[in-house]
């Protein structure tokens, strides 16, 4: 079980990172990464919805007929998105306003529908729950880092705290979002390539030692 959780964590955050590896949930990634705080807010909202919907979909996987699985998933996801929206409107109205239409649009977020279809509908409840948590955290980590990068360069601040007067306005625009996304995907691909090379070498060495022994 411990290994499985570790595997799911590595998948969600690194190996199958929804934003940087699977390139899912691109709309909120491009639109909301003007500030690091938006990334945290959106990431937490998506993580909650992903975890809850994965749990429910997984527990109903043998009951929901495959012909109506998509409308059923949408119903379940929309319920949790509505709960998150009401919660943020009540307790964190500033974050809710900053997220604008992207908050209700979580309903059709590719990451959530993708994980429901690819993972939760085929795996047990506990695994699906961990998959939801780690995929959500992977998404949150990616958009928070992108938000921090754009906020530092575009506004000379981090989490709303001013650092300096130097600003490159380009990073606050849509073109800056695409540029930042490209840089992050490139860096992620490079480092994940190095990581998988290293882990392959380690496995090979292990295998060799076992054969020799």
């Amino acid at each position: 079980m411990k290994n499985k959780v570790k595997d799911l964590a590595l998948d969600g955050v690194l190996r199958q990172n929804p934003t940087l590896k699977l390139v899912l949930g691109t709309c909120p990634t491009l639109a909301l990464t003007t500030a690091a705080m938006n990334g945290v807010g959106m990431g937490l909202a998506v993580t909650f919805v992903l975890m809850c919907s994965n749990v429910i979909i997984s527990s109903l996987r043998n009951i929901i007929p495959s012909r109506v699985r998509i409308p059923a998933y949408i119903l379940i996801i929309a319920t949790f998105v509505t709960i998150v929206r009401m919660f943020l409107n009540k307790f964190a109205p500033t974050i809710a306003t900053a997220m604008g239409p992207y908050l209700p649009l979580i309903v059709v977020n590719c990451i959530i529908l993708g994980r429901a279809e690819a993972f939760a509908s085929k795996n047990p409840v506990l695994d699906s729950m961990f998959d939801g948590i780690f995929m959500g955290l992977g998404f949150m980590l990616a958009i928070t880092l992108m938000g921090a990068f754009r906020e530092i360069l575009g506004a000379g601040a981090i989490f709303g705290v001013k650092l300096w007067d130097f600003k490159i306005e380009f990073f606050t625009h849509a073109s800056g979002a695409l540029f930042t996304y490209a840089i992050f995907i490139a860096l992620f691909t490079y480092f994940s390539g190095l990581y998988s090379k290293k882990s392959k070498q380690k496995t090979l060495q292990k295998d060799k030692k076992e054969v020799e022994a």
């Binding site: 007929p65 059923a72 379940i76 509505t82 709960i83 009401m86 009540k90 109205p93 306003t97």
Partner: protein, 201 residues
Amino acid sequence: MANKKESTLRCVLVLSVIAVVCGVLLAVLNPLLYVAPSAEDISNYFDLPVENPGEWKVVDLNSEHAGKTTDKSGAAVSLVAQMQAGEETYYGLLITTKASGNLSECKFVMFFTKSDNKLVDAKMTVDGSSGGKYTYESAAAASENVKKFEEYYVVINSATQFDTDYSIPKVGATLTLTAVDNAFKKAAYYYYNVIMGGGAQ
């Protein structure tokens, strides 16, 4: 045939059960989490930096004078709230102006002091302008210009709302500047007629 019918029935049944359960869950949470739109507007837009600010309280809207954005004026008062800070009572008016051409719906918030009927602050809270940097900058200037009304119309009176002499230079972003004009006129009209009890003329 019977199997297909049974399967269709099962699909409908499962979807219905899921919909009912989701509905019940939301119905249970609604009284705990629901925030009225007016409370949402207050928390989003009613920000007036004064000493010892109290809580904004929604005042009943006089629909006869509040108008609609589809009216000739192109502006409508959508929310009125009152706040007590020290000995002063402040009124906040949220005004919505209609979309026109490239300009989407805009929202303005204007604050008045009850003791001397003064406009103390005004902001464009939702900027509906589009069309690139030039328009954006002009819209920002327009929003700043709302504050300049203070210089011309320190006190709201019967003339304020009908006087057409005041104008802000409409160089570029004409639609946005017209929206600013309309919003101010509507606020002045509503404040004079409803809050000051001036009576419609």
